[in-house]
Protein backbone atom coordinates (compact mmCIF):
# COMPACT_ATOMS: atom_id res chain seq x y z
CA UNK A 1 0.00 0.00 0.00
CA UNK A 2 2.77 2.35 0.94
CA UNK A 3 4.53 1.62 -2.34
CA UNK A 4 1.42 2.42 -4.37
CA UNK A 5 1.09 5.76 -2.64
CA UNK A 6 4.77 6.52 -3.31
CA UNK A 7 4.33 5.60 -6.96
CA UNK A 8 1.20 7.71 -7.31
CA UNK A 9 2.89 10.64 -5.61
CA UNK A 10 6.06 10.47 -7.67
CA UNK A 11 4.27 9.96 -10.97
CA UNK A 12 1.97 12.89 -10.22
CA UNK A 13 4.93 15.12 -9.40
CA UNK A 14 6.69 14.01 -12.60
CA UNK A 15 3.62 14.78 -14.68
CA UNK A 16 3.17 18.16 -13.04
CA UNK A 17 6.84 18.98 -13.67
CA UNK A 18 6.57 17.93 -17.31
CA UNK A 19 3.38 19.94 -17.69
CA UNK A 20 5.03 22.96 -16.13
CA UNK A 21 8.01 22.77 -18.50
CA UNK A 22 5.80 22.32 -21.57
CA UNK A 23 3.34 24.99 -20.49
CA UNK A 24 6.11 27.53 -19.86
CA UNK A 25 7.63 26.84 -23.27
CA UNK A 26 4.25 27.16 -24.92
CA UNK A 27 3.54 30.51 -23.26
CA UNK A 28 7.01 31.79 -24.12
CA UNK A 29 6.93 30.71 -27.76
CA UNK A 30 3.29 31.07 -28.74
CA UNK A 31 3.45 34.72 -29.66
CA UNK A 32 6.51 34.30 -31.84
CA UNK A 33 4.94 31.26 -33.51
CA UNK A 34 1.71 33.11 -34.36
CA UNK A 35 3.70 36.05 -35.71
CA UNK A 36 5.76 33.66 -37.87
CA UNK A 37 2.67 32.04 -39.31
CA UNK A 38 1.09 35.39 -40.08
CA UNK A 39 4.29 36.70 -41.66
CA UNK A 40 4.58 33.58 -43.80
CA UNK A 41 1.01 33.89 -45.01
CA UNK A 42 1.53 37.54 -45.85
CA UNK A 43 4.71 36.70 -47.76
CA UNK A 44 2.87 34.02 -49.72
CA UNK A 45 0.07 36.45 -50.56
CA UNK A 46 2.57 39.01 -51.84
CA UNK A 47 4.48 36.52 -53.93
CA UNK A 48 1.29 35.03 -55.41
CA UNK A 49 0.23 38.50 -56.53
CA UNK A 50 3.67 39.21 -57.94
CA UNK A 51 4.83 41.67 -55.30
CA UNK A 52 7.95 41.59 -53.16
CA UNK A 53 9.96 43.88 -50.87
CA UNK A 54 11.51 45.63 -53.87
CA UNK A 55 8.18 45.89 -55.61
CA UNK A 56 5.70 46.82 -52.86
CA UNK A 57 1.92 46.85 -53.09
CA UNK A 58 0.70 50.18 -54.56
CA UNK A 59 -1.62 52.54 -52.66
CA UNK A 60 -4.37 52.08 -55.21
CA UNK A 61 -4.63 48.39 -54.41
CA UNK A 62 -7.23 47.13 -51.99
CA UNK A 63 -7.62 43.75 -50.33
CA UNK A 64 -11.07 42.90 -49.02
CA UNK A 65 -11.96 39.82 -47.04
CA UNK A 66 -15.24 38.06 -47.62
CA UNK A 67 -16.23 35.56 -44.92
CA UNK A 68 -18.59 32.74 -45.69
CA UNK A 69 -20.88 31.37 -42.99
CA UNK A 70 -23.43 28.62 -42.79
CA UNK A 71 -26.60 29.80 -41.04
CA UNK A 72 -29.24 27.39 -39.75
CA UNK A 73 -32.64 28.45 -38.59
CA UNK A 74 -35.44 26.02 -37.71
CA UNK A 75 -33.70 23.25 -39.62
CA UNK A 76 -33.33 25.39 -42.74
CA UNK A 77 -29.91 26.30 -43.99
CA UNK A 78 -28.79 29.44 -45.74
CA UNK A 79 -25.39 30.70 -46.75
CA UNK A 80 -24.22 33.98 -45.29
CA UNK A 81 -21.49 36.28 -46.56
CA UNK A 82 -19.92 38.95 -44.39
CA UNK A 83 -18.78 41.68 -46.80
CA UNK A 84 -17.21 45.09 -46.18
CA UNK A 85 -19.05 48.24 -47.30
CA UNK A 86 -17.86 51.63 -48.57
CA UNK A 87 -15.33 52.61 -51.22
CA UNK A 88 -11.56 52.10 -51.30
CA UNK A 89 -9.88 53.36 -48.15
CA UNK A 90 -13.17 54.12 -46.37
CA UNK A 91 -14.54 52.34 -43.35
CA UNK A 92 -18.17 51.69 -44.23
CA UNK A 93 -18.78 48.88 -41.77
CA UNK A 94 -19.88 45.38 -42.69
CA UNK A 95 -22.99 43.76 -44.01
CA UNK A 96 -24.15 40.16 -43.66
CA UNK A 97 -25.89 38.92 -46.80
CA UNK A 98 -27.91 35.72 -46.66
CA UNK A 99 -28.57 33.64 -49.76
CA UNK A 100 -30.61 30.44 -49.75
CA UNK A 101 -29.54 27.17 -51.32
CA UNK A 102 -31.39 27.99 -54.59
CA UNK A 103 -29.22 31.08 -55.02
CA UNK A 104 -32.02 33.50 -54.13
CA UNK A 105 -31.45 36.53 -51.89
CA UNK A 106 -32.91 36.21 -48.37
CA UNK A 107 -31.97 39.27 -46.36
CA UNK A 108 -29.23 41.71 -45.46
CA UNK A 109 -28.19 42.74 -41.94
CA UNK A 110 -25.68 45.42 -40.98
CA UNK A 111 -23.02 44.19 -38.59
CA UNK A 112 -21.27 46.49 -36.12
CA UNK A 113 -17.60 45.51 -36.39
CA UNK A 114 -14.32 47.34 -36.80
CA UNK A 115 -11.73 46.44 -39.43
CA UNK A 116 -9.20 45.37 -36.80
CA UNK A 117 -11.58 42.98 -35.12
CA UNK A 118 -12.92 41.30 -38.24
CA UNK A 119 -9.80 39.09 -38.50
CA UNK A 120 -10.28 37.61 -35.01
CA UNK A 121 -12.69 34.75 -35.42
CA UNK A 122 -14.11 35.02 -31.89
CA UNK A 123 -14.93 38.74 -32.17
CA UNK A 124 -16.31 38.31 -35.67
CA UNK A 125 -18.57 35.38 -34.81
CA UNK A 126 -19.92 37.23 -31.77
CA UNK A 127 -20.70 40.36 -33.82
CA UNK A 128 -22.46 38.37 -36.55
CA UNK A 129 -24.47 36.42 -33.98
CA UNK A 130 -25.50 39.63 -32.22
CA UNK A 131 -26.65 41.17 -35.50
CA UNK A 132 -28.64 38.11 -36.58
CA UNK A 133 -30.34 37.43 -33.27
CA UNK A 134 -30.29 34.33 -31.10
CA UNK A 135 -32.73 32.17 -33.08
CA UNK A 136 -30.10 31.40 -35.73
CA UNK A 137 -26.93 29.36 -35.35
CA UNK A 138 -23.91 30.32 -37.43
CA UNK A 139 -20.82 28.42 -38.43
CA UNK A 140 -17.79 30.01 -40.05
CA UNK A 141 -16.70 28.13 -43.18
CA UNK A 142 -13.98 30.00 -45.04
CA UNK A 143 -12.65 33.35 -46.07
CA UNK A 144 -11.68 34.70 -49.46
CA UNK A 145 -9.73 37.83 -50.30
CA UNK A 146 -10.80 39.99 -53.22
CA UNK A 147 -7.93 42.09 -54.57
CA UNK A 148 -8.65 45.30 -56.49
CA UNK A 149 -6.52 47.90 -58.21
CA UNK A 150 -8.04 51.32 -59.04
CA UNK A 151 -11.45 49.86 -58.24
CA UNK A 152 -11.06 47.02 -60.74
CA UNK A 153 -10.83 43.44 -59.54
CA UNK A 154 -7.44 41.90 -60.19
CA UNK A 155 -7.45 38.66 -58.23
CA UNK A 156 -9.11 36.36 -55.70
CA UNK A 157 -7.14 34.60 -52.98
CA UNK A 158 -8.54 31.31 -51.76
CA UNK A 159 -7.54 29.05 -48.88
CA UNK A 160 -8.13 25.38 -49.49
CA UNK A 161 -7.67 22.10 -47.67
CA UNK A 162 -8.22 18.64 -49.11
CA UNK A 163 -7.02 15.09 -48.39
CA UNK A 164 -3.64 14.13 -49.84
CA UNK A 165 -1.92 10.74 -49.78
CA UNK A 166 -1.27 10.87 -46.03
CA UNK A 167 -2.88 13.86 -44.35
CA UNK A 168 -4.62 17.00 -45.52
CA UNK A 169 -2.87 19.33 -47.93
CA UNK A 170 -3.47 23.03 -47.30
CA UNK A 171 -3.00 25.37 -50.22
CA UNK A 172 -3.45 28.99 -51.16
CA UNK A 173 -4.68 29.70 -54.65
CA UNK A 174 -4.76 32.99 -56.54
CA UNK A 175 -7.35 33.29 -59.31
CA UNK A 176 -7.80 36.02 -61.89
CA UNK A 177 -11.25 37.66 -62.25
CA UNK A 178 -12.03 35.18 -65.06
CA UNK A 179 -11.15 32.34 -62.61
CA UNK A 180 -8.00 31.30 -64.43
CA UNK A 181 -5.13 30.35 -62.11
CA UNK A 182 -2.45 32.97 -61.48
CA UNK A 183 -0.65 31.38 -58.55
CA UNK A 184 -0.51 28.39 -56.25
CA UNK A 185 1.35 27.80 -53.01
CA UNK A 186 1.36 24.64 -50.90
CA UNK A 187 1.06 25.82 -47.30
CA UNK A 188 1.04 22.55 -45.34
CA UNK A 189 1.37 18.90 -46.19
CA UNK A 190 2.89 15.70 -44.83
CA UNK A 191 3.47 13.76 -48.04
CA UNK A 192 6.46 11.40 -48.31
CA UNK A 193 9.80 13.16 -48.64
CA UNK A 194 11.27 12.63 -52.11
CA UNK A 195 7.96 11.41 -53.52
CA UNK A 196 4.68 13.18 -52.71
CA UNK A 197 6.54 16.05 -51.05
CA UNK A 198 7.64 17.11 -54.54
CA UNK A 199 4.22 18.81 -54.89
CA UNK A 200 5.81 21.89 -53.37
CA UNK A 201 8.45 22.05 -56.10
CA UNK A 202 8.07 24.59 -58.86
CA UNK A 203 8.08 22.02 -61.63
CA UNK A 204 4.86 20.64 -60.20
CA UNK A 205 2.95 23.56 -58.74
CA UNK A 206 3.75 26.01 -61.54
CA UNK A 207 2.05 23.68 -64.01
CA UNK A 208 -1.24 25.21 -62.86
CA UNK A 209 -0.19 28.70 -63.90
CA UNK A 210 -2.34 30.41 -66.56
CA UNK A 211 -4.65 27.44 -66.91
CA UNK A 212 -8.03 28.88 -67.93
CA UNK A 213 -11.21 28.15 -65.97
CA UNK A 214 -12.51 25.96 -68.82
CA UNK A 215 -9.46 23.71 -68.46
CA UNK A 216 -9.37 23.71 -64.63
CA UNK A 217 -13.01 22.54 -64.57
CA UNK A 218 -12.00 19.29 -66.25
CA UNK A 219 -8.34 18.96 -65.31
CA UNK A 220 -6.83 15.49 -65.17
CA UNK A 221 -3.44 13.99 -64.36
CA UNK A 222 -1.42 12.24 -67.06
CA UNK A 223 1.43 9.79 -66.48
CA UNK A 224 3.73 10.93 -69.22
CA UNK A 225 7.27 12.26 -69.23
CA UNK A 226 7.33 16.04 -69.09
CA UNK A 227 8.86 17.83 -72.10
CA UNK A 228 12.31 19.20 -71.19
CA UNK A 229 11.54 22.71 -72.46
CA UNK A 230 8.49 22.86 -70.18
CA UNK A 231 10.50 21.69 -67.13
CA UNK A 232 13.11 24.38 -67.78
CA UNK A 233 10.41 27.04 -67.96
CA UNK A 234 8.73 25.83 -64.75
CA UNK A 235 12.02 25.62 -62.87
CA UNK A 236 12.89 29.19 -63.90
CA UNK A 237 15.96 28.17 -65.89
CA UNK A 238 15.03 30.52 -68.73
CA UNK A 239 14.13 34.19 -68.37
CA UNK A 240 10.76 35.16 -66.98
CA UNK A 241 9.00 36.36 -70.13
CA UNK A 242 10.04 33.28 -72.10
CA UNK A 243 8.98 31.05 -69.20
CA UNK A 244 5.56 32.71 -69.08
CA UNK A 245 5.19 32.19 -72.85
CA UNK A 246 6.08 28.55 -72.46
CA UNK A 247 3.57 28.08 -69.63
CA UNK A 248 0.87 29.73 -71.75
CA UNK A 249 1.72 27.37 -74.57
CA UNK A 250 0.99 24.42 -72.25
CA UNK A 251 -2.03 26.01 -70.60
CA UNK A 252 -4.54 23.62 -72.20
CA UNK A 253 -2.54 20.51 -71.27
CA UNK A 254 -3.33 18.26 -68.33
CA UNK A 255 -1.09 18.07 -65.28
CA UNK A 256 1.98 15.83 -65.58
CA UNK A 257 1.98 13.52 -62.55
CA UNK A 258 5.02 13.32 -60.30
CA UNK A 259 7.04 10.15 -60.74
CA UNK A 260 6.07 7.71 -57.98
CA UNK A 261 3.49 10.08 -56.53
CA UNK A 262 0.45 9.89 -58.79
CA UNK A 263 -1.92 9.93 -55.82
CA UNK A 264 -0.48 13.15 -54.40
CA UNK A 265 -0.47 14.76 -57.84
CA UNK A 266 -4.05 13.73 -58.41
CA UNK A 267 -5.09 14.93 -54.95
CA UNK A 268 -3.77 18.42 -55.65
CA UNK A 269 -5.32 18.63 -59.14
CA UNK A 270 -8.71 17.35 -58.02
CA UNK A 271 -8.61 19.59 -54.98
CA UNK A 272 -7.95 22.65 -57.10
CA UNK A 273 -10.57 21.56 -59.62
CA UNK A 274 -13.25 21.24 -56.95
CA UNK A 275 -12.22 24.43 -55.14
CA UNK A 276 -12.25 26.55 -58.27
CA UNK A 277 -15.56 25.20 -59.54
CA UNK A 278 -17.34 25.75 -56.24
CA UNK A 279 -15.79 29.16 -55.75
CA UNK A 280 -16.73 30.33 -59.26
CA UNK A 281 -20.33 29.22 -58.77
CA UNK A 282 -20.68 30.78 -55.32
CA UNK A 283 -19.02 34.01 -56.26
CA UNK A 284 -21.13 34.45 -59.39
CA UNK A 285 -24.22 34.06 -57.22
CA UNK A 286 -22.90 36.53 -54.66
CA UNK A 287 -22.02 39.01 -57.39
CA UNK A 288 -25.50 38.79 -58.87
CA UNK A 289 -27.11 39.36 -55.47
CA UNK A 290 -24.82 42.31 -54.73
CA UNK A 291 -25.76 43.88 -58.06
CA UNK A 292 -29.51 43.25 -57.74
CA UNK A 293 -29.67 44.56 -54.18
CA UNK A 294 -27.38 47.56 -54.85
CA UNK A 295 -25.07 46.72 -51.97
CA UNK A 296 -22.17 49.18 -51.87
CA UNK A 297 -19.17 46.88 -51.69
CA UNK A 298 -15.68 48.21 -52.45
CA UNK A 299 -14.84 45.46 -54.95
Amino acid sequence: MKMIITIIFRLTVSCLLAGLVMGTTFVLTNKAKKANEFAREERVVYSLLGFSKENPIPESMGMYEVFRYLVSENGQQTIGYLVPLGGHGEDGGFSFIRIDLDAAFVDKTDVALSHDKVREQGDRDAAVQAALGTDKTIRFVEQTVVVTDHGERTAYLLHGKFPGYKTNIAIMLALAPDYSVIGLEIMEHEEDPGLGAEIEQNYFKKQFMFKPFEKIKAIEVVKEPMPVEYVDALEGKIDEAAAADMMKQYKDNDIYALTGATISSDAVSSGIKAMTRKFAYRFDVLDQVIEEQHIGVPF
Partner: protein, 204 residues
Protein backbone atom coordinates in the same frame (compact mmCIF):
# COMPACT_ATOMS: atom_id res chain seq x y z
CA UNK B 1 28.32 1.30 -9.92
CA UNK B 2 29.92 4.07 -11.90
CA UNK B 3 31.34 3.51 -15.34
CA UNK B 4 35.12 3.28 -15.63
CA UNK B 5 35.24 4.75 -19.10
CA UNK B 6 36.56 8.24 -19.66
CA UNK B 7 34.34 10.86 -21.26
CA UNK B 8 36.20 10.59 -24.55
CA UNK B 9 35.69 6.83 -24.58
CA UNK B 10 31.96 7.23 -23.95
CA UNK B 11 31.62 9.46 -26.99
CA UNK B 12 33.80 7.23 -29.17
CA UNK B 13 31.84 4.12 -28.16
CA UNK B 14 28.58 5.78 -29.14
CA UNK B 15 29.95 6.52 -32.58
CA UNK B 16 31.78 3.26 -33.31
CA UNK B 17 31.52 0.27 -30.95
CA UNK B 18 27.89 0.89 -29.99
CA UNK B 19 26.66 2.80 -33.02
CA UNK B 20 22.86 2.91 -32.60
CA UNK B 21 22.09 2.11 -36.22
CA UNK B 22 24.85 -0.24 -37.36
CA UNK B 23 25.69 -2.01 -34.10
CA UNK B 24 22.69 -1.83 -31.77
CA UNK B 25 20.17 -1.82 -34.66
CA UNK B 26 17.74 0.33 -32.72
CA UNK B 27 15.21 2.86 -34.03
CA UNK B 28 15.30 1.21 -37.42
CA UNK B 29 11.81 2.23 -38.53
CA UNK B 30 12.29 5.98 -38.43
CA UNK B 31 15.90 5.68 -39.56
CA UNK B 32 14.92 3.68 -42.60
CA UNK B 33 11.85 5.77 -43.35
CA UNK B 34 13.53 9.14 -43.25
CA UNK B 35 17.12 8.67 -44.42
CA UNK B 36 16.23 9.30 -48.05
CA UNK B 37 18.52 12.32 -48.39
CA UNK B 38 21.59 13.63 -46.57
CA UNK B 39 19.71 16.71 -45.43
CA UNK B 40 16.91 14.63 -43.86
CA UNK B 41 19.57 12.55 -42.09
CA UNK B 42 21.26 15.64 -40.68
CA UNK B 43 17.97 17.15 -39.52
CA UNK B 44 16.74 14.02 -37.74
CA UNK B 45 20.23 13.37 -36.37
CA UNK B 46 20.48 16.81 -34.78
CA UNK B 47 17.00 16.52 -33.31
CA UNK B 48 17.77 13.10 -31.82
CA UNK B 49 21.09 14.38 -30.47
CA UNK B 50 19.40 17.21 -28.62
CA UNK B 51 16.61 15.04 -27.18
CA UNK B 52 19.03 12.28 -26.19
CA UNK B 53 21.41 14.61 -24.31
CA UNK B 54 18.61 16.50 -22.56
CA UNK B 55 16.72 13.33 -21.55
CA UNK B 56 19.88 11.54 -20.36
CA UNK B 57 20.84 14.47 -18.17
CA UNK B 58 17.32 14.83 -16.77
CA UNK B 59 16.94 11.15 -15.92
CA UNK B 60 20.42 11.00 -14.43
CA UNK B 61 19.71 14.04 -12.24
CA UNK B 62 16.33 12.67 -11.09
CA UNK B 63 17.37 8.99 -10.81
CA UNK B 64 16.87 8.82 -7.03
CA UNK B 65 13.38 10.28 -7.31
CA UNK B 66 12.13 7.91 -10.03
CA UNK B 67 10.47 4.83 -8.57
CA UNK B 68 11.88 1.69 -10.28
CA UNK B 69 8.37 0.29 -10.84
CA UNK B 70 7.35 3.22 -13.04
CA UNK B 71 10.65 4.07 -14.67
CA UNK B 72 9.57 3.42 -18.27
CA UNK B 73 6.52 5.74 -18.14
CA UNK B 74 8.75 8.37 -16.56
CA UNK B 75 11.30 8.00 -19.38
CA UNK B 76 8.58 8.38 -21.99
CA UNK B 77 7.24 11.41 -20.18
CA UNK B 78 10.70 12.98 -20.07
CA UNK B 79 11.36 12.34 -23.74
CA UNK B 80 7.92 13.66 -24.72
CA UNK B 81 8.50 16.80 -22.67
CA UNK B 82 11.82 17.58 -24.33
CA UNK B 83 10.47 16.77 -27.78
CA UNK B 84 7.59 19.19 -27.21
CA UNK B 85 9.94 21.88 -25.92
CA UNK B 86 12.22 21.51 -28.94
CA UNK B 87 9.27 21.37 -31.33
CA UNK B 88 7.72 24.56 -29.94
CA UNK B 89 11.03 26.44 -29.79
CA UNK B 90 11.95 25.50 -33.34
CA UNK B 91 8.55 26.57 -34.63
CA UNK B 92 8.87 29.91 -32.87
CA UNK B 93 12.49 30.88 -33.42
CA UNK B 94 13.65 28.92 -36.49
CA UNK B 95 10.57 28.84 -38.74
CA UNK B 96 12.63 28.16 -41.87
CA UNK B 97 14.25 25.05 -40.37
CA UNK B 98 10.97 23.99 -38.76
CA UNK B 99 9.24 23.68 -42.12
CA UNK B 100 11.74 20.92 -42.96
CA UNK B 101 12.28 19.43 -39.48
CA UNK B 102 8.79 19.67 -38.03
CA UNK B 103 7.56 16.18 -38.90
CA UNK B 104 10.84 14.55 -37.83
CA UNK B 105 10.95 16.12 -34.40
CA UNK B 106 7.54 14.81 -33.39
CA UNK B 107 8.31 11.15 -34.11
CA UNK B 108 11.35 11.11 -31.81
CA UNK B 109 9.03 10.32 -28.87
CA UNK B 110 8.85 6.76 -30.14
CA UNK B 111 12.58 6.25 -30.62
CA UNK B 112 13.79 3.05 -28.97
CA UNK B 113 17.39 4.24 -28.85
CA UNK B 114 16.63 7.06 -26.42
CA UNK B 115 14.57 4.94 -23.99
CA UNK B 116 17.22 2.21 -24.18
CA UNK B 117 20.04 4.60 -23.28
CA UNK B 118 18.05 5.96 -20.35
CA UNK B 119 17.39 2.41 -19.10
CA UNK B 120 20.90 1.06 -19.65
CA UNK B 121 23.00 4.06 -18.73
CA UNK B 122 21.48 7.29 -17.47
CA UNK B 123 19.49 5.76 -14.59
CA UNK B 124 22.66 4.34 -13.04
CA UNK B 125 25.38 6.85 -13.83
CA UNK B 126 26.35 10.37 -12.81
CA UNK B 127 25.13 13.45 -14.67
CA UNK B 128 28.42 14.23 -16.52
CA UNK B 129 28.85 10.61 -17.65
CA UNK B 130 25.25 10.56 -18.89
CA UNK B 131 25.83 13.80 -20.77
CA UNK B 132 28.82 12.35 -22.62
CA UNK B 133 27.06 9.05 -23.26
CA UNK B 134 24.02 10.90 -24.66
CA UNK B 135 26.31 13.01 -26.83
CA UNK B 136 28.10 9.91 -28.15
CA UNK B 137 24.85 8.10 -28.91
CA UNK B 138 23.37 11.16 -30.58
CA UNK B 139 26.48 11.67 -32.69
CA UNK B 140 26.55 7.98 -33.60
CA UNK B 141 22.95 8.22 -34.77
CA UNK B 142 23.65 11.46 -36.65
CA UNK B 143 26.65 9.97 -38.47
CA UNK B 144 24.75 6.77 -39.24
CA UNK B 145 21.86 8.76 -40.69
CA UNK B 146 24.17 10.90 -42.81
CA UNK B 147 25.96 7.86 -44.22
CA UNK B 148 22.65 6.11 -44.96
CA UNK B 149 21.22 9.29 -46.45
CA UNK B 150 24.26 9.82 -48.65
CA UNK B 151 24.14 6.29 -50.09
CA UNK B 152 20.41 6.42 -50.69
CA UNK B 153 20.35 9.94 -52.11
CA UNK B 154 23.24 9.20 -54.46
CA UNK B 155 21.77 5.93 -55.71
CA UNK B 156 18.13 7.01 -55.61
CA UNK B 157 18.13 10.53 -56.99
CA UNK B 158 21.70 10.93 -58.25
CA UNK B 159 22.30 13.90 -55.97
CA UNK B 160 24.06 14.82 -52.72
CA UNK B 161 22.65 17.47 -50.36
CA UNK B 162 20.23 18.41 -53.12
CA UNK B 163 22.93 19.11 -55.70
CA UNK B 164 22.80 17.02 -58.82
CA UNK B 165 26.00 14.95 -58.85
CA UNK B 166 25.43 12.13 -61.30
CA UNK B 167 23.09 13.93 -63.69
CA UNK B 168 20.73 10.94 -63.82
CA UNK B 169 18.69 8.87 -61.36
CA UNK B 170 20.20 5.39 -61.09
CA UNK B 171 17.47 3.56 -59.13
CA UNK B 172 14.26 5.06 -57.77
CA UNK B 173 14.06 1.99 -55.53
CA UNK B 174 16.64 3.43 -53.13
CA UNK B 175 14.44 6.27 -51.91
CA UNK B 176 11.57 3.92 -51.11
CA UNK B 177 11.40 2.86 -47.43
CA UNK B 178 12.06 -0.82 -48.10
CA UNK B 179 15.41 -0.03 -49.70
CA UNK B 180 16.51 1.46 -46.38
CA UNK B 181 16.71 -2.05 -44.93
CA UNK B 182 18.94 -3.22 -47.77
CA UNK B 183 21.29 -0.29 -47.27
CA UNK B 184 21.36 -0.75 -43.47
CA UNK B 185 22.07 -4.46 -43.94
CA UNK B 186 24.91 -3.83 -46.36
CA UNK B 187 26.37 -1.13 -44.11
CA UNK B 188 26.20 -3.45 -41.06
CA UNK B 189 28.04 -6.09 -43.00
CA UNK B 190 30.60 -3.54 -44.07
CA UNK B 191 31.17 -2.36 -40.48
CA UNK B 192 31.54 -5.94 -39.23
CA UNK B 193 33.91 -6.77 -42.04
CA UNK B 194 36.15 -3.83 -41.15
CA UNK B 195 36.14 -4.90 -37.50
CA UNK B 196 37.07 -8.47 -38.41
CA UNK B 197 39.75 -7.19 -40.71
CA UNK B 198 41.38 -5.13 -37.95
CA UNK B 199 41.09 -7.93 -35.40
CA UNK B 200 42.73 -10.35 -37.80
CA UNK B 201 45.54 -7.91 -38.46
CA UNK B 202 46.11 -7.38 -34.74
CA UNK B 203 46.37 -11.07 -34.13
CA UNK B 204 48.53 -11.91 -37.03
Amino acid sequence: MATEKTHGQLVADGILKENPIFKLALSMCPAVGISTTVMNGIMLGIAVLMVQVLSSVTISALKDFIHPRIRIPTYTLTIATWVTVIDLSLAAYFPAAYIKMGIFVKIIVAFAIITMRLEMFACKESVPASFWDGLGMGLGFLIGMVVLGAVRELLGSGALLGYDVLGFKPLLFFILPSAGFFVVGLMMGFFNWIEEFYKARKRG
